[in-house]
């Protein structure tokens, strides 16, 4: 099997299968939780639940990840706190605002959108990779994180790191031939897509549940979330 064939397979049939597994798996995970039932909250509210939800998202998305002193947490290690935010920022920019990825979206969805200049995307990708390494080191040395990390947590890190780093090397044409790098990147992406429904990387979907619940709980009590 030549690298050309590997690439054709990885971005062709395997990618399709991975997408189907990803979408099907996530749909299953979603249904599973939805079907557990949602009891009605009969508690009379003191404040506005809707206002709580809006504040919950504003704080969660805009303010939270980048300001270590908000809520006074991780004050002993603000770099790690910021790393989490920067990793997610880099990831989203690369996936949605990188031209190459937008074109993949376009081929899947049928429409595209404006993207950012390559140097910006490239820098943010590098930042995200460095942030991931910092987070890994922290997970290795922090006693609490070591205690709560099982095989799944280490695997999560690795499966996310592979597409990031192969993508970066590919953009810079380092060490290997382009086809080889592209193949490795696609294989890593396929693995990630298949793995997500089996893991907690799926938190991006449940994020919207937990932050909404957080907002309603605090909002109903008239407290800023």
């Amino acid at each position: 099997m030549t690298w050309d064939e590997v690439l054709r397979f990885a971005r062709g049939p395997l990618f399709k299968v991975a997408l189907i597994v990803f979408i099907g798996g996530m749909a299953y995970r979603l249904m599973r939780v939805l079907l557990l039932g949602w009891g009605r909250d009969r508690v009379p509210a003191m404040g506005s639940k809707a206002a709580g939800v809006v504040k919950s998202y504003l704080k969660g998305i805009l303010i939270w990840p980048f300001i270590p002193w908000v809520k006074g947490t991780f004050r002993r290690n603000p770099l790690i706190y910021v790393a989490g935010g920067l990793f997610h920022l880099g990831l989203f920019v690369v996936i949605f605002l990188g031209t190459a990825h937008m074109l993949v979206w376009k081929s899947l969805l049928g429409f595209g959108w404006p993207t950012l200049a390559l140097p910006i995307v490239d820098w943010l990708a590098a930042v995200a990779i460095v942030a991931m390494l910092a987070l890994l080191v922290n997970r290795l040395v922090n006693p609490v994180l070591r205690m709560i990390s099982g095989p799944a947590e280490w695997l999560n890190w690795g499966v996310v790191f592979l597409p990031m780093v192969t993508g970066y090397i590919m953009t810079h044409h380092l060490w290997f031939g382009y086809t080889t790098l592209f193949s490795m990147h696609m294989l890593a992406v396929d693995l990630l897509l298949i793995y997500i429904p089996l893991s907690r990387i799926s938190h991006f979907m449940f994020y919207f549940f937990s932050r909404t619940i957080h907002g309603t709980e605090f909002g109903k009590r008239g407290v800023t979330p």
Partner: protein, 433 residues
């Protein structure tokens, strides 16, 4: 299957998506760790909030998820064992006040307090409740009070309070608007609170009563996490309210009782229709705002004074503004906030039943060091609060650490600063029994 595993399954089934989606959202980032006062003062990794709910995660994944079942089958994950229960009994009952500060810090916004409370419930189902808490609960079931104050003892104490402070407490008044429900802590340790609140009610012209049947607002069932007991104790109060035909139940200076009555009861049982549940903090704010009571401005201006936010009354109860409004009237020159404060305030360390567990004493003393730091930062030696449980912890720690602090209940401050009431009219706090 262990009773705990069974109870956790049931907890997930009953709460459904509310709990499941939050468990699914946790990425084990560990950020909640440094929100916890027990962790910060001990450095014990097991006190991390995410670890406190670990049993629930294991039970949920092992029963409700494919990957969890796979892990169990492959032996990567082990079923919950008896020794797990003993370990989690210590960390969830002795090193957690269910203050829920961690949920504000969680990037996913997971309501960790509720999840840990669920674990407590499952431990209770297996009989793994600390002895002191268990005994207090039994006393509340049998005598009507965790301190063992039965009806006769209660009447004696109420008579004594009326004599001592020369006040009249309206007992079992049919058709009163407000039924005030006190705690045994107030009855036995801070009896002057009855006098202060009576004085305020009178000044405001409120039609109110206390009830001999709903005489205990404390709810040890909530501490345990035992729904059956929680409902039993709630029902006593709601039945009394219904019999007297009152419009609202006013929880006095007690945090978790407010949590139980105001925020938990409606989802656990049938609360009498139209009955309102309020807290004294809210009622005091209402009286001042509506001009039903007049306060002497600056009456408490005598050296820096600060306010301690109770987890169940401020962070989880929403009464953040009222105490500050009152303090800004009474001590406009000397009221200073601690940092962090309001919804982010640091817990006293004695809530959630912790103060009633002997084995937890050292942990709550350690946790209190954060409050000492906070007070020292602003150079305050006077602190107000609106929760008797916090107040008990403060009083005990002041003694333990030999601090020269003055601790005020909000009702006390208000009652002592009522305008149009000569200096001699104040309730004398020196007579605490």
């Amino acid at each position: 299957m262990l009773a705990t595993q069974e109870a956790l399954n049931q907890f997930v089934e009953e709460t459904g998506g509310w709990i499941a989606s939050q468990l699914e959202a946790c990425t084990r980032c560990g950020m909640c760790t440094e929100a916890c006062h027990f962790y910060l003062t001990s450095g014990n990794p097991a006190y991390s909030p995410v670890w406190k709910m670990e049993l629930l995660r294991r039970a949920y994944e092992g029963r409700f998820t494919v990957s969890g079942r796979l892990k169990l089958a492959l032996g990567i994950e082990k079923p919950i064992s008896q020794s797990d229960l003993e370990a989690w009994r210590t960390i969830d009952y002795e090193a957690c006040t269910l203050c829920n500060r961690c949920s504000l810090v969680c990037p996913m916004g997971i309501d960790l307090g509720s999840l840990i409370h669920g674990v407590r419930g499952a431990l209770a189902a297996a009989g793994e409740v600390p002895d002191d808490l268990e005994q207090a609960t039994q006393k509340q079931i049998e005598d009507g009070s965790p301190l063992g104050v039965d009806l006769d003892a209660w009447r004696d104490r109420i008579d004594w309070i009326q004599d001592e402070w020369d006040i009249e407490l309206p007992i079992d008044v049919q058709g009163a608007d407000t039924m005030a429900v006190f705690t045994s802590i107030e009855l036995m340790k801070f009896p002057s609170n009855f006098a202060y609140i009576a004085k305020i009610m009178e000044a405001a012209g409120e039609s109110w009563t206390i009830s001999s049947k709903g005489r205990e607002v404390v709810n040890f069932g909530l501490f345990e996490g035992n729904t059956e007991h929680t409902v039993l104790f709630l029902k006593r109060i709601f039945d009394a309210a219904q019999e007297l035909g009152v419009k609202r139940v006013m929880v006095t200076e007690c945090g978790h009782a407010y949590e139980a009555l105001r925020w938990t009861s409606f989802n656990l049982m049938q609360v009498p229709a139209g009955l309102e549940v309020t807290h004294i903090a809210g009622v005091l704010g209402e009286f001042v705002e509506q001009g039903r009571i007049q306060l002497k401005p600056g009456a408490m201006d005598d050296g820096t004074i600060t306010f301690h936010d109770a987890c169940k009354i401020q962070r989880k109860g929403g009464h953040i503004k009222e105490p500050r409004m009152i303090l800004n009237i009474l001590a406009p020159e000397s009221f200073v906030e601690m940092t962090p404060n309001k919804e982010e305030g640091i817990c006293c360390g004695g809530g959630g039943g912790v103060i009633s567990i002997k084995e937890a004493d050292q942990k709550r003393f350690d946790a209190f060091e954060l409050k000492i730091d906070q007070m020292n930062q602003i150079g305050a030696q006077r602190v107000a609060m609106v929760c008797s449980n916090c107040r008990l912890q403060f009083a005990d720690c002041v003694q333990h650490f030999g601090l020269d602090w003055k601790i005020y209940g909000l009702s006390q401050m208000v009652a002592e600063s009522l305008a149009g009431d000569g200096d001699a009219g104040g309730v004398q706090p020196a007579k605490e029994g």
